[in-house]
């Protein structure tokens, strides 16, 4: 059974001006779609042909891993944001953020710094470990925290394709704008569920 590009939970212009309609057209319509298409053709005839996306992300290497993880990461990323942002981290997550980072502002600074200093293409993650502690990690290229036994709570795509049409070399401006569209209701629920 082939994987399909998941529908966006908002229109392609919904994240303006943080992410332009043009950027979303390429990011979702071309990049995310290409990862889905590549994954489907790469797994054909392999032991992953009928596997779940999570299993493929956990067990594959090389081209199959790159495309599977990019499908997973982009789906998670696009579901982490919403037009105008939504709510606050919620009581449980807010308490965990304070406990792990000192304050929400310190968390945001640290997450932003992880985004600006990630060299090359990749993703910044807020993750929860087995003992419930929060951490911020950088992953290169298609890297996904599930491989390290960590549970993703929030992610930010810092591949240049995510921001180059709108911000060019100014990655810090993109990261600053990202905070205005984070769906904290969603992120807070993820923290509670896992």
């Amino acid at each position: 059974m082939a994987f399909e590009l998941p529908a966006l939970p908002y229109g392609q212009s919904g994240l303006e001006p943080v992410m332009s309609e043009k950027t979303m057209g390429f990011h979702y319509g071309k990049h995310h779609q290409a990862y889905v298409n590549n994954l489907n053709s790469l797994i054909e005839g392999t032991r992953f042909a009928n596997a779940s996306l999570n299993d493929i992300v956990m067990e594959s290497e090389g081209g199959i891993f790159n495309n599977a993880a990019q499908v997973w990461n982009h789906t998670f990323f696009f579901e982490s944001v919403t037009p105008g942002g939504r709510g606050e981290p919620g009581e449980e997550l807010a308490r965990a953020i304070d406990r792990n980072f000192g304050s929400f502002e310190k968390f945001r600074d640290e997450f932003g710094k992880a985004g600006t200093t990630l060299f090359g293409s990749g993703w910044v993650w807020l993750v929860k470990n087995a003992t419930g502690m929060l951490d911020i990690i950088q992953e290169s290229n298609a890297g996904n925290p599930l491989r390290k036994g960590l549970t993703p709570v929030l992610t930010l795509d810092v591949w240049e394709h995510a921001y180059y049409l709108d911000y060019q070399n100014r990655r810090p401006d993109y990261i600053k704008a990202f905070w205005t569209i984070v769906d904290w209701q969603k992120v807070g629920n993820r923290y509670l569920q896992v």
């Binding site: 390429f26 071309k30 990049h31 290409a34 790159n66 060299f119 090359g120 293409s121 990749g122 290169s140 290229n141 298609a142 591949w159 240049e160 394709h161 180059y164 049409l165 060019q168 070399n169």
Partner: protein, 199 residues
């Protein structure tokens, strides 16, 4: 003494339509300039201050990651600007062509292999034509690594390179990296590549 951002031997719009002026200007004045400044900051007051960039690259495994990233970025973009020209394109001649034929079979076989290396580099990086002890070799490196580095899989002297970071083509080609690679061949300055081959 510190490293200086080199000026280009052509205008920002000179490589159009293959590489657009806005991309060239941001690439040179923002990205390359940042690598240069960050490299200078990273080597200040260290034993690397005063060393040639080639020597720093050759010992890169001993140095901090900031030197690897920014030193590579400084060197790689220097080479990139040098091997392009508005009068570029076509095929190499003379001894360089002979060497390409002997290593790859034909110019077409070489250019296919180079284009494939550039298209399949996942994430950010470069594809190279490298002069090695065993003839010419096509390779690719992640991020700002290069064949001069003692950590490279294929070590040697790069004589041709293409930047496949998305910043090199996104404004003009977006997700169509293969179109950018195809267009690149129209601006390759084979005289400059030949000089590096003999150098």
């Amino acid at each position: 003494m510190s490293f200086k951002l080199p000026s280009l031997k052509y205008e920002y719009n000179a490589l159009e339509p293959h590489i657009d002026a806005r991309t060239m200007e941001i690439h040179h004045t923002k990205h390359h300039a940042a690598y240069t400044n960050n490299l200078n900051a990273a080597i200040e007051n260290s034993d690397m201050a005063g060393m040639s960039i080639e020597k720093i690259m050759a010992g890169i495994s001993k140095y901090p990651v900031a030197v690897r990233n920014n030193g590579g970025g400084f060197y790689n973009h220097n080479l990139f600007w040098e091997i392009m020209s508005p009068d570029g394109g076509g095929k190499p001649a003379g001894e360089l062509l002979d060497a390409i034929n002997s290593s790859f079979g034909s110019f077409g076989a070489f250019s296919d292999e180079f284009s494939r290396a550039a298209a399949t580099r996942f994430g950010s990086g470069w594809a190279w034509l490298v002069r090695t002890d065993n003839g010419l070799v096509v390779s690719s490196t992640p991020n700002q690594d290069n064949p001069l580095m003692d950590i490279a899989d294929v070590k040697g002297t790069p004589i041709l390179g293409i930047d496949v970071w998305e910043h090199a083509y996104y404004l003009n080609y977006q997700n169509r990296r293969p179109d950018y690679i195809e267009a690149f061949w129209n601006v390759v300055d084979w005289n400059a590549v030949s000089e590096k081959f003999h150098g």
